[in-house]
Symmetry: C2
Subunit: 302 residues, 2 copies
């Protein structure tokens, strides 16, 4: 028995993509959506991000047996509180947030009598808002589910089935481990990208227009990541502080070593590292987690 | 009057792309090629990277009025010495290296009686070797030429025309400024990418297979850059040491501030930076220096 009615709270890149993906892959399932921004609700209706866009969070969740919160990490608790009055007692409440320990705590506190099963589809683009979503966002991407101890296995199985129906591959792990894994695979890369793009735009010796002009040498890839949604990412760093700082310090230690290698003209250490890192790339491409074409098959290669 | 015969020394990604691009865009121009690796010469003949592949550097350059050295930065001096016996007195010697002050010095010392006009096409992919090149690599990309003081303006104009014929946009600047600009737009991004990929593959708390599996959250973009040619990049860092260290220290200062913002839960500073960096991205896309499609239009978006 799968979910019959999915309510989506927050209709940006992730919420919109879920709405479109459910309509494409699970045509028998009802979808309702809500966003606290009236303009977003208007656009969501135009794009058909859900079969019905409600004007209050309670209305959106009233008949739902699965509610997915797709709001920034920092507002998960408030979003949960806003739906509490309308929720069915048997509804499963899940989310798509990028940090899991903080969200698990916030949702459990806001909805102590409901089944909370947090999840994180590891998928996205640098775009945000109601125009950013598309039905295939989750194809071949991992979705990590972090069930609290003692979670109803029947409901957990239904959530696994749901994500697999949208094309995702599902893994379960505990929230703390999730937060460490994502700190290194996602949060630190974003932190570094935001920082270097900031550094480059404030230099005295090199103008901003030069940075933009000659960005094809590597910098432009960082700017794509650094164009991601500011609110979402601020909340990620505020809510996954410990794991981010732990991984950041490992990176800073390694970068200090690299700096010493350059000062010492130690070409051998550099060559060793630069050779090892190629192997990681090959594994990612082999596992279907990236495009093997050079430069991701950007338009300028024919 | 344009160049009639172009000799290409080194037949990897850049050398091979020049050979293919000249044959495509300047069909009247003769191309000869040489690589010190016999297997690369064999493959270059099979792919037709130049109209003739010579077995010695002297033979390759014997009749050329333009010689382009496409070897790693650290071997530019040796490659120049190897062609010196065969060079026409009026030949222009250029290159494609990513650091310009060190190369200008090395080439001038090896070939004191020839016209040296260094150049750097800001284009590339993570692939290397004789199979990596393609004729359109330079389309819509910048090529920075760094003419030494007093360079023959007639020959300089011909070199500008040559690169424009291959589809590039040309800018001239002095070698020291080039090295600073490229340190920030290319060298530091590569240094950071190599380092974080190394950090991620050596963690105790997160396994390498988890890093690979969940790389779609941002990390995979860094692995692409960190799959670039190890020899080339070792030589870049050894030969653009001062500018790289200067920019690295600016980045480290900014990263320390970001670390303090996380420790202090200072969401406002983060939000400000994350908003500013979006504008840089928009400028790069507007200038045609990157693909505007989300995620660069990777294959998983339809």
């Amino acid at each position: 028995m799968s979910f019959q009615h999915v309510a989506i709270i927050g209709l940006g890149l992730l919420g919109g993509s879920i709405g479109l993906a459910v309509q494409k892959h699970l045509p028998g399932v009802t979808t309702t959506g809500y966003d606290r921004d009236a303009d977003v609700r208007l656009r969501a209706r135009e794009r058909g991000l859900a079969s019905h866009i409600a004007d209050t969070p309670e209305q959106a969740v009233a008949d739902a047996d699965l509610v997915i919160l797709c709001v920034p990490v920092g507002t998960m608790g408030a979003a949960a509180a806003a739906i509490s009055g309308g929720l069915r007692p048997d509804a499963v409440v899940s989310d798509v947030g990028s940090s899991k320990a903080a969200i698990t705590k916030a949702l459990s506190e806001a909805l102590p009598d409901h089944t909370i099963i947090p999840a994180h589809p590891v998928a996205g683009t640098e775009n945000s808002g109601p125009d950013a979503g598309f039905a295939t966002l989750f194809h071949q991407r991992w979705c990590i589910i972090t069930p609290p101890t003692g979670a109803d296995t029947h409901k957990l199985d239904r959530l696994v089935d749901f994500w697999e129906s949208l094309g995702a591959m599902v893994e379960t792990m505990d929230p703390e481990h999730h937060d460490r894994v994502l700190a290194v695979t996602s949060h630190i890369p974003h932190l570094i990208a935001y920082t270097i793009v900031g550094t480059a735009s404030d230099l005295e010796e090199v103008t901003r227009s030069e940075v933009i002009k000659y960005s094809a040498g590597g910098f432009r890839d960082f700017t794509r990541i650094a164009a991601s949604d500011p609110t979402m990412w601020r909340d990620v760093f505020l809510n996954n502080r410990e794991a981010v700082l732990e991984m950041l310090d490992s990176f800073l230690t390694d970068l200090a070593h690299m700096r010493e290698s350059i000062i010492a003209s130690d070409g051998e250490s550099m060559f060793d590292l630069f050779t090892r890192t190629r192997a990681i790339r090959r594994s990612i491409v082999a596992l279907g987690q990236d495009d093997a074409r050079p430069d991701f098959g950007r338009g300028d290669h024919q």
